[in-house]
Symmetry: C2
Subunit: 391 residues, 2 copies
Amino acid sequence: MTLPAAMALRLEDHAVQPAARVGVIGAGQLARMLHEAAVPLNVEVRVLTEDLGACAVRAGAVPVLGSDQDLDDLRALAAGCDVVTFEHELADLSLVDELASEVPVRPSARATRTAQDKLHGRRALQAGGFPCPRFRPVYDLEDIHGFMLEIEGPAVLKARSGGEGGRSVWMIDDAASAKRAWDEAFARRLNVLVEERVAIRSEVSVLVARSPNGQRVAYPVLETRHVDGTCHEVHLPAQVGDDQAAQAVELGLHLAEALDVAGVLAVELFITDDGMLVNELSLRPHNSGHVTIEACATSQFQQHLRAILGWPLGSPRLVAPCAVMVNVFGNDAGGDPSHQLPSALAVPEVYPHLYGKLAQSGRKLGHVTALGERREEVLARARAATAVLRR
Amino acid sequence: MTLPAAMALRLEDHAVQPAARVGVIGAGQLARMLHEAAVPLNVEVRVLTEDLGACAVRAGAVPVLGSDQDLDDLRALAAGCDVVTFEHELADLSLVDELASEVPVRPSARATRTAQDKLHGRRALQAGGFPCPRFRPVYDLEDIHGFMLEIEGPAVLKARSGGEGGRSVWMIDDAASAKRAWDEAFARRLNVLVEERVAIRSEVSVLVARSPNGQRVAYPVLETRHVDGTCHEVHLPAQVGDDQAAQAVELGLHLAEALDVAGVLAVELFITDDGMLVNELSLRPHNSGHVTIEACATSQFQQHLRAILGWPLGSPRLVAPCAVMVNVFGNDAGGDPSHQLPSALAVPEVYPHLYGKLAQSGRKLGHVTALGERREEVLARARAATAVLRR
């Protein structure tokens, strides 16, 4: 005897429960990869989005239609969820704070504010005694001039929030470049800060996870390779000394504690001749950590889920001597990398990840990871597949 | 300026295309894991199902409501797909054959018939000169008696199709057990065959993949550990000699060629004192191959997608010296393993996969994989996590 399909559905719906439900503010590629990590754990991922075609929804995350600037919509996301988390820092955090009185939000709105607004972040770092470039909030052009006089060197004007990929960063060397930068920031109504431009030897990223009960793990230090302020490659392990790597990890673990992080924390660090300085904070899975999907025993996405759910954290152990991740950006013609996928798969042992986003020139559309014994060989494979996807 | 959500959705819908669309006949855990493998490749998986609560749908595969016994429903699944494939062998293959004139079906209905009906399978093996136990189709009790006289030893009565997990297999040692077996099979309207019961030293599974252009790859031989005819554990690599492993792989690759397989082929083999015999064929990803998700450079699920799409096949290389997979069956109380997941994750470095199915005693609800250096240690971890999930 078979039940009518509709009735069978209703019966199953009541009976089968996921291991947990996680609400995600945002529905882009980070939410998509959180969903990918959630499926084997039978964890349901719900995403708050204004676009049912968002790439996390295409992968199967359950959409909740709404805005992260609306408390009712945030409540609709949270309804029935064990915990709410972020894939970006653009939500109205005062509303998220209200939400937190009804359902656990991890990390907290308070902690997330340090990533949402670079000024809050810098002040938190300063208060905790963590090294970061000298900085000053900027409310008019005079603030920049005053800061330049003080530091006696080149500076950078930065938007305090948003501004991925170097589009809201201006190099300042003199009065003329200061005026150009300020005029553009002012025209775009951006809140900005100015900071000293340090001589960077390399950039690394420290990825740690912390659970509400205080359990912490740290991944091996990642080296990030940038072009025009945008991360293009991640090399694992980073080419830094053991002492420096240990120091970076120590800093990340302390920061997670100081900021009362629950979930994954990514700390971008400048390595200079005089030591390391904190550049940026992300209280969520981070582009540099995509390499952990294949390279580590527990990916940053599964780790984030475990941390925010208060579950035991997983091993961050490297499963191969060497790993490289290369981002796939849209080519100038706006071609879709998906069309090149079969050719890219002809490159031996590469792991392509295509996000299912609308192809546009310069847009981050995916990444390719490769693992192996020797850095140069692994790098060559990852780059070869990426080059094919960008054709 | 923002577009209304509904309009934004329509625009995205037209613009974003997956790399390929694959229609799957079935929506259980194999379809679920095919979907998991498809997401990073931006491949859309559609599943034919009569239950919108099916576990592949819960993970995000696109459901097409319908029956695999109805040509219109099969056509609805196939519409817009690049290829149609199977997660089980229960479809009406004459209808699938018709469908194949409209859209590529891989493997073919003809090839799939060898897995759907053990009698067809045995005959195909015999015709190709592949070793298998002596057998005879059974249409009445006399056929069993005749066969027993001929082989002068113990036999097994088996349903020719369906019958997972030993529920349609009967041991026959004498006239009394023959009668009991035949009576039950007859009462259940099963088509059956009888075959000699061989003295099994161990059981292994050979997993190969073949693409329509003839490219073939073979995974390292898997050892399967059974309890009451049901696979409980998979050990990789198998504890067989190098010669025997090579011979098994050779047999698998030849079989893929002989049956004109497109996709993954799993060959279950009995290892006896006199050599190896083919037990069963599955022309699809197979329970024994779940271990490849973490243990091999390319999982059997991604491999199946690549093979049926005619894309370059991936490396089947083992990424750790040793791997073990343990199936998670529902406990006697009908408890849901999802409730025990946090405790299971406290076991170091295990990979649980829960299928999101309704918990029932004895039902296959998930599996746990572990990797490492030493077999005993890896086995202990996988078993420990599984024991927790079965609490």
